[in-house]
């Protein structure tokens, strides 16, 4: 039998076994679906968050609040200094009045807080847009910002990148949690597939023994079980993707206007979907290999029921 005939034989035997033992196969497929679905949810959320962060990073800016006592000359010197930096693409002066208007627009109910002051409580500022193409190394940028903070005309330096870094840490945490939970569930799935294949091998031990008796190699005896494991894993992956796609579509439809939609803008990429299916198949194969170790499948052309005395 050549390789293509062997593959056809393995597939036929594996499909036949899946159909015959569909109940136990369903258990294996369900556990792998659950683990890959959960991994997919975390992947979906983290990849969308990452995309959001990348978008925000594009718009990230520095806000340099000017000391209320600083003179116009000092403010202009500061503005000029900022413009001279190679990594700034735009520097815009926001006056205290303009800042007050923005505040009232953003927080209409808090507008009265700005009333009654002899001088605006919100300082004027310089909004600096950074050019991502010419940004120096983070250390160099931080040292530049530290120098700015030492400037007598500077009150506070607000760096958007600070909270983006915190958000990135959250994404890392989500990814790590997803990986840990996904891995735990995947291990469970591997054990389930392993048990299911071992049970199948036990149910067909008489056939295995006959195959050994007539001269079947281990490759032909074990091949269908390996393929069965891979098919169970692959089926689990496909079902998980179907659920993910359905869940994603539902969220997009029902929560299009809420903040939740920000996390589900983009569905998984083709390579991520293929990776999920490959992961399922690999888990199935590992489960099958684990279940058919020599000590569990044996090497004999006899079953305990067939043992005959001399």
């Amino acid at each position: 039998m050549n390789l293509s005939q062997a593959i056809v034989y393995f597939l036929r035997e594996a499909f036949s076994s899946l159909v015959r033992s569909w109940k136990v196969s369903l258990v294996a497929i369900t556990t792998i679906t659950m683990s890959l679905f959960l991994s997919g949810v975390f992947l979906l959320v983290s990849s969308n968050l990452r995309q959001l962060i990348e978008g925000w990073e594009e718009e990230a800016k520095l806000v340099i609040y000017i000391e209320p006592d600083a003179t116009t000359g000092e403010a202009e010197r500061l503005q000029s200094h900022l413009r001279d930096a190679a990594w700034t693409s735009d520097v815009r002066h926001v006056t205290a009045e303009e800042a007050g208007v923005r505040f009232r627009k953003a927080f209409p109910s808090l507008g009265e807080l700005l009333e009654g002051w002899s001088k605006s409580p919100i300082p004027s500022s310089l909004e600096v847009l950074l050019d991502r193409n010419t940004l120096p190394a983070p250390d160099q940028l931080d040292s530049w910002l530290d120098q700015l903070r030492q400037d007598s005309a500077v009150s506070v330096v607000d760096d958007d990148r600070d909270w983006l870094r915190q958000l990135e840490a959250v994404v890392y945490a989500i990814e790590a949690l997803g990986m840990v939970l996904g891995a735990l569930l995947l291990v469970t799935a591997v054990f389930t597939i392993s048990s299911v294949i071992r049970l199948t091998a036990y149910l067909y031990r008489d056939e295995i023994a006959v195959m050994r008796l007539v001269g079947a190699t281990e490759f032909f005896i074990r091949g269908p079980f390996y393929v069965e494991g891979v098919l169970q894993g692959l089926a689990g992956g496909i079902v998980a993707i179907v659920f993910l796609a359905a869940g994603h579509a539902l969220l997009m439809e029902r929560y299009a206007d809420s903040a939740l939609s920000l996390l589900t803008v983009k569905f998984l990429s083709l390579s991520e979907l293929l990776a999920l299916m490959a992961l399922g198949s690999l888990a199935g194969l590992v489960g099958a290999i684990a279940s058919l170790r020599r000590e569990s499948l044996g090497q004999t052309a006899e079953t305990p029921e067939w043992q005959e005395e001399d």
Partner: protein
């Protein structure tokens, strides 16, 4: 064809299966292996088809030392040896055709080739008309014929039979025995393990007697029953 040199088989519990057995079986011979229960008959056969490994000594099958045959090469040896058991070892959920076609399927024969080979082999044992039956729909004698057909599918050079008539009444036993004689008549070496001395007396041929794992005697008995290889098998099995 088959040679044993001082072969001993000890099982883990200390039980001796075979003890210093040396003998030679020529190609094309029909040999009866007899002795009481526990004498070592099954062990003898298992050592030949490599189900067991001898504790010491060497076994040559067709000039190849099978006592040190690597595990991965055992399947290829088994394809040249047919084995038949007392309990038939048929798969009840499979048809006769499926039961005998394990090896052809593994060897990659097409469906048409499998059917043709199955038909021809079943015809040899007189069961061509029961190809689609399930084992439990067959009589004991018919089930044993299916088991023999399975053993013959790859036209083995050696046929080993471990008490093949143990579950059959005397009439069916003789029928099965005639089949073995016929197969032997076509050139296949047959080793027939049985404790049924009457059966052996009727046939004759070379008889190896094992007792406590040792070869107690090796003699040729004259017999009356001769093989019927010239007869059509379907006819001898009473099938039209």
């Amino acid at each position: 064809m088959i040679e044993l040199f001082s072969v001993t088989k000890r099982y883990p519990g200390g039980q001796v299966g075979l003890d210093e057995v040396t003998l030679k079986i020529e190609a094309g011979q029909m040999v009866f292996l007899t002795g009481p229960s526990g004498a070592g008959k099954s062990t003898f056969l298992k050592l030949i088809y490599c189900e067991e490994v001898p504790s010491s000594g060497s076994i040559l099958v067709n000039g190849r030392n099978v006592s040190s045959l690597p595990r991965r090469k055992v399947p290829y040896l088994r394809r040249t040896i047919g084995v038949v058991f007392q309990s038939f070892r048929l798969i009840p959920r499979k048809t006769v055709f499926e039961n005998i076609c394990y090896l052809p399927r593994i060897l990659g024969l097409s469906g048409q080739e499998q059917r043709q080979l199955a038909y021809e082999t079943l015809r040899r044992v007189g069961l061509a008309h029961r190809m689609k039956a399930f084992p439990l729909q067959l009589s004991g004698g018919e089930q044993q014929r299916v088991a023999i057909a399975r053993a013959l599918m790859n036209q083995p050079e050696i046929l080993l039979a471990d008490e093949p008539t143990g579950n059959l009444d005397p009439e069916l036993s003789e029928e099965i025995l005639r089949l073995f004689l016929e197969i032997n008549g076509q050139g296949t070496t047959v080793i027939f393990a049985t404790h049924d001395r009457d059966l052996i007396q009727r046939v004759g041929r070379r008889v190896l007697t094992l007792e406590g794992g040792q070869l107690a005697s090796d003699k040729v008995l004259p017999g009356k029953l001769v093989d019927t290889s010239d007869d059509d098998s379907e006819k001898s099995a009473g099938v039209e």
